[in-house]
Symmetry: C2
Subunit: 281 residues, 2 copies
């Protein structure tokens, strides 16, 4: 069964019913961490090969297509680890990664999609949003950074925006890395106990942790309202990093396979160029 079918947030999906320690589609392994490392690197080679065709086809063939991975998660959910381990399999030349935080004052003064539109990947590229426009219905909703009537309209705006992107040649892979509150506690404790991880720790993370239930509710609303046919959400159980890496890699592979990419044909006279090269000693 396809990973995308296993993890797609369909109608009636209940986040609270999805086990963050689950491993859908992967039966028990002797050494799952090692298995995943090998698997991700094998899938990674396929991803890099798809990426080259995507890039080639945009460059030489004016193909408008591009792939955009949208990563969302609670703090410590594993976004950075996913970028390092999964996105790191791509050729960096054809990659555009943008991180978004809570909107700044300047960003709040613009329509909420302003900063997003400025950060979209060009044709042929793989884009990664490390957080995204969904922050505008997550942290913004939880903390009332704008009035309710403003954020409440955004779900429809986001759906229209994403449908437009898909119409223009974007393939969106929207992934929520789903961790448990207990796993977040472990990871925060780990950051506190390891001096080489102190820089990742922010006392504000504990404050945000106090809003856990509000965030889960906000994520549920995202799944209810923005997991569309054109751009579905995938919920990846993420307490186990090895499964998370595998699942995101598998979702990307399936997205690329759906594109049926091929290398573009030469737009020059091959024989003539061979002659010209020979003459250019």
């Amino acid at each position: 069964m396809l990973t995308s079918d296993l993890l797609r947030a369909g109608p009636g999906v209940r986040l609270a019913d999805i086990d963050p320690r689950g491993t859908p589609g992967v039966t028990s392994r002797k050494d799952p961490k090692q298995w995943s490392r090998v698997e991700v690197s094998l899938i990674g080679a396929e991803l890099a090969s798809h990426q080259e065709m995507l890039y080639a086809d945009a460059k030489a063939g004016s193909d408008p297509r591009r792939v955009l991975l949208v990563l969302q998660a609670m703090d410590c959910g594993g976004k950075d680890g996913t970028v390092k381990n999964v996105v790191g399999q791509f050729d960096p030349l054809g990659l555009r990664i943008v991180s978004f935080g809570a909107p700044t004052k300047e960003e709040l003064a613009h329509p909420f999609l302003w900063r997003i539109k400025n950060a979209l990947p060009p044709a042929g590229y793989v884009g990664v949003f490390n957080r995204s426009h969904y922050e505008d219905v997550l942290i913004v909703r939880v903390h009332d950074l704008v009035p309710r009537r403003v954020w409440a309209r955004r779900y429809d705006t986001i759906n229209r925006f994403e449908a437009e992107l898909v119409g223009e040649g974007y393939t969106l892979v929207k992934v929520m890395l789903h961790i448990s509150k207990e796993e977040q506690r472990k990871r925060l404790a780990d950051r506190l106990s390891d001096p080489t991880k102190h820089w990742k720790y922010n006392p504000g993370d504990i404050d945000e942790r106090g809003y856990w239930d509000d965030y889960q509710e906000a994520y549920q609303a995202v799944l209810d309202r923005c997991s569309t046919e054109a751009a579905p959400w995938y919920v990846v159980p993420a307490d186990r990093k090895w499964y998370r890496n595998y699942a995101v890699a598998a979702l990307l592979r399936e997205a690329f396979e759906g594109l049926n990419l091929k290398y573009p044909k030469a737009d020059f006279d091959l024989k003539n160029e061979v002659k010209r090269l020979e003459a250019s000693m």
Copy 2:
């Protein structure tokens, strides 16, 4: 001996005297390709570790430092391969790659450093310029895209600009990938004979090849005038891809080692945070 000492373009350097098939600092190996793959991946792990400290120190400690790799080469010189194989060792999250071509009409209407300044990596990042401001004294000089009196002034402007960057915390690693005319012919022929590489081929490459000697002269002028104490040039013999990858990785490692990076200290009260976390069940 340090790779940077072996490859630095010092006073009186003659590009014509540097063997593009040379392997300075590497004695003969049974299987040099395999040796290089392993070596680059080992150095790569060190690079990723340095990069994390650089990133951490900027994020948590306001350290202004950053590293900028500047790649220049003739067509087929191996810039893209270097990005894939060497730069690909970094965590993509802390990486900023920008490719520059011959300046566009819009870019020509601005001071030549305009597009460069817009593309500089933020503090804590590793930046890569795939071609750079040196195009403005290379292709621009060879094809007189601006009058001689204009490009002739640029060497000094570039030196001042780079000295400023170094003063602001940039470490520049300027690498010229040095290939022979015969190696370029082989690589162009390879692109023509392999349908999966046709997209990389551009008939204009043969036209440019006709200016080989002019380009070598323009590169020589760059080495003569812009290999400064603050920001030296390194000439990497690049006919052998395995050596090129190894040498660029080694140059980057030496640059990072010179920074003596350390993880930043916690700027919060550790005991208090442990208590807060325990209380946040």
